[in-house]
Symmetry: C2
Subunit: 144 residues, 2 copies
């Protein structure tokens, strides 16, 4: 279990929400996925444990988790949003258009760029979870 049981329960609690079995299962399922997980994957994973859980419950739980900052969303452009457990270190992602694999990069990689934009345009970039597409090293070698 990647998430800290106590923290998410306390967070829910503080916001006037209840700690339920299904919410626990759903959060576990998000953690179980490495990197971004689609709602469908979360749903399937949860369903394996509890056959009666409904898609709408998963949607509602994920929306709540995002609202409370426990989970981050990323739009990887494939029609459905993807979810990821919030990690202590802010980061971004590189998604390879060739093999589909994704890798994390630290927030530092973008710092210089956002600083530049801030200085030049007075615009404060607030994208805390960016997804960049391209070709990874391996795929790049195959198709130059």
């Amino acid at each position: 279990m990647t998430h800290h049981l106590l923290r998410w329960e306390a967070t829910l609690w503080a916001a006037g929400h209840r700690v339920t079995r299904q919410r626990a299962l759903i959060l576990d399922a998000v953690c179980a996925g490495e990197g971004h997980t689609s709602l469908g994957e979360v749903f399937a994973r949860v369903r394996r444990v509890d056959r009666t859980i409904d898609r709408s419950t998963v949607y509602r739980a994920l929306r709540l988790f995002v609202e409370l900052g426990l989970v981050l969303t990323a739009d990887t452009g494939g029609g459905e949003l993807r979810y990821e457990i919030t990690k202590p270190h802010p980061h971004h992602h590189l998604v390879c258009r060739g093999c589909g694999r994704e890798q994390e990069i630290g927030a530092d990689a973008l710092r210089a760029m956002t600083d530049h934009v801030s200085r030049q345009h007075g615009f404060r970039v607030a994208t805390d979870h960016l997804v960049l597409f391209g070709l990874c090293a391996a795929c790049s070698r195959q198709m130059p």
Copy 2:
């Protein structure tokens, strides 16, 4: 008319497609929008000229234009894709979460970042039309 009549007709033609009245209207409508235009806006604009045109025709035409590189898509996260006529100079966009206004920034602004990612991770970033969210100078002043 921002687009060059001859170029898009030739492009269509070369790819074995036909030049139709509705495609011309749709491309005009995309040009008429400053920055990104939603499909709904394009549709509404075209409808003002031709009351019989169908949404599916707009979807089909836009898909074709994107495929041929005449139009670019951007996912601004609001549920619907947005479209923009392809301009000679590659660029990206800053969208303000406060007032919704968007501004263009040159591709150079990201160059340093993509170079860095390339050197560090061997990953070739291929996002040619990125949308960054944040707060513009004016909104930034109002809510610090």
